[in-house]
Symmetry: C2
């Protein structure tokens, strides 16, 4: 396979976009990415989205969006892996370009959630879990995560307050991201007093659903000499794995096996290890997921994820900066778009475009996108390289 | 890219499977394909499906099915392109294996439609059309096709009866396919007297929705010497294209531009032309679509598709046999699975396993899968080759 580079990125603000349809949001991100890449079009379009059929009464997003963005005729499909849809679409686009079958592609993650009634959205999100063995018993997606968090606290002796740094860090970083959903500084006191949602998960452990779209243009790295873009952003590693969809079927419900497999795949391809990663855009749908991702990806010992937060190691000046643009918690979580927001944000960091939350000297970044409560996990390692001479 | 081969195929009967969930159907097809290939597992699973979110309240089919079939851990995603989802998943799997990133994959198309209420299904199918500009005006999917058919008859001077051979041929061939939904011989008289659905489309112009799953195991052709399978079934050409999703936006609503582009791509890759195709599994969701596919794929002049039927050229003994196992009309149309049924059926023909509807001497077959009323179209050319010496 040939090496693949990210030539352009684009995003809409993550927000409640009452005046914009899913189509318009997707279009804005695609146009921004194409403009950033200095291209008018690509040979293919891949769409990451989870809920358009339920919430927008529209399937067939590939052709629909391709038509809208002036790519009528080009190959276009939707790829779905619940909240991991964005990175899944990115991986499929990556493979298509790497294979030589496709010369260039734009991948867009898009979701429009806030138009729907709250119970429609909750029911929609529950379709990421096992309908037959989890949802039918009344488990919502958040209550599944609450069971995991409660067990984790019991098993490893953490208090709820020990998870506060994950959310405080995310909110602090989002203050510097104009596209973030929430620009609200968070204190430990506010975190502890937040309304309970599903014990022990309170509102400040939870990411915010939202509308949004993020996109990237990918091309063969060998074609980069045609473009002025410096530095070159190379997709050095890509991994994808699954685990049991139902939490109760996992040998260890406190270990994200699919994160471990996919991160190891991505590390191996990139020839790096966790010690080389300068920043990590992880999937903090709930604060417990930050801890589990850090552990399974090799940044903390089993059961010790919260320690990194308490020791200040997850800030942009710490050992492993996470959620540097706000994460799912504060940038927001338009579910099928989230994986592409993560990719765009890693690119911003590697290009030194992260403003007040810039990680100094960042050269290698990782993005990790989760579908369901850990059933699908994708890890991507992006590397900034000097122009080829 | 390396050459890719189909090593195993499997399918469930197309039927009303009241006793089987979507998961069980998908599993039966995957297990049958793996057994046919002589394999226990593959490195990745790609799922073609359109409506599981709406009709089955289950997204995240990749992880869900991978878990069920014993492939927990492996990469698994769903690919969606409305009724073209099956072939879209096949193409993504094909590219993944051709690229070298994936060593082997199973692609399964699956849909479970008959459990839902009829108006849920009609609303679900309408999500293949443009929600904002077609569906909101009250157009259902069948009425869109009826507009196209009416215009076609007006433009080219055909009568409704001229489309009868498409349906009669499909029903005749389905009599020899134990997995077909309908085993009912159709006469011209029955065709003409069928109840009207959406003028001029009557019940015998329309495919039957259904439950079903079909799967194929794909591997690099270079690995085939490890397996005893003879003949080798090579995926010689693959093409995908889109057109405007809304019919009124097309320059010519009577021409399937995406069929033309994707068929030409597939022909070019395979180094063949329409004159070399021994059978053509086309997407006869409605009889008008048979005519349009034949024309855009190079088998008939513009406006002359019905002539092939009237002249007997579409039967298994004709110049271009179509719907040789019953087609969408009589094998049935479990929408997201249909593209994979077509692939499986072409493989059956090339292996001489098509029983009473075997096309004698078939060496090159084409499958064409359509999403929406022509907005996404994929064409695949499969070739039977003698064992490598």
């Amino acid at each position: 396979m040939r090496e693949v580079a990210i030539l352009g990125v684009g995003q809409t603000p993550v927000s409640e976009h009452w005046d914009k349809s899913l189509l318009i949001l997707a279009g804005e991100a695609v146009f921004a990415a194409l403009e950033d890449a200095g291209m008018k079009s690509t040979q293919a379009l891949y769409v990451g989205n989870m809920l358009s059929g339920q919430l927008d009464k529209q399937n067939h997003l590939g052709a629909w969006i391709a038509d809208w963005v002036g790519m009528r005729g080009q190959e276009a499909f939707k790829i779905e892996a619940a909240c991991g849809s964005g990175a899944a679409a990115f991986r499929m686009g990556l493979i298509a370009v790497a294979s030589g079958e496709i010369a260039s592609a734009v991948v867009v993650g898009v979701e429009k959630m806030t138009d729907a009634l709250p119970d429609e959205t909750t029911a929609g999100l529950a379709t990421a879990a096992d309908a037959d063995w989890e949802v039918i018993h009344g488990l919502s997606f958040i209550s599944l995560n609450a069971l995991i968090m409660r067990r984790y606290m019991h098993e490893y002796g953490w208090e709820h307050a020990d998870f506060a740094p994950f959310s405080i860090n995310a909110h602090a970083n989002a203050m510097h991201n104009p596209n973030a959903r929430l620009h609200l500084p968070l204190t430990k006191e506010k975190y502890l007093k937040a309304p309970m949602v599903s014990n022990p998960i309170n509102l400040m452990d939870s990411s915010a659903i939202a509308d949004g779209a993020a996109a990237a243009v990918i091309v063969p790295a060998e074609s980069l000499h045609r473009y002025a873009r410096v530095p070159r952003i190379i997709v050095a590693g890509s991994g994808a794995a699954t685990a049991s969809i139902a939490v109760h079927d996992r040998r260890d419900p406190l270990w994200l096996r699919a994160a471990e497999i996919s991160a190891q795949q991505a590390y191996r391809q990139a020839g790096v290890g966790p010690e080389d990663i300068d920043l990590f855009e992880l999937h903090d749908a709930f604060s417990i997921m930050s801890a589990l991702s850090l552990e399974a990806s090799g940044f903390a010992e089993r059961g010790q994820g919260p320690r990194l937060g308490l020791d200040g190691e997850i800030s942009i000046h710490g050992r492993i900066p996470i959620t540097t643009r706000g994460g799912l918690k504060a940038r927001g979580h338009p579910v099928g778009a989230t994986g592409m927001y993560q990719i765009v944000e890693v690119v911003q960091q590697l290009r030194r475009q992260a403003g007040g939350s810039q990680v100094e000297g960042a050269k290698i970044g990782m993005a990790q996108n989760i579908g369901g409560s850990g059933a699908t996990i994708l890890s991507h390692v992006l590397v900034s390289k000097p122009p080829r001479t």
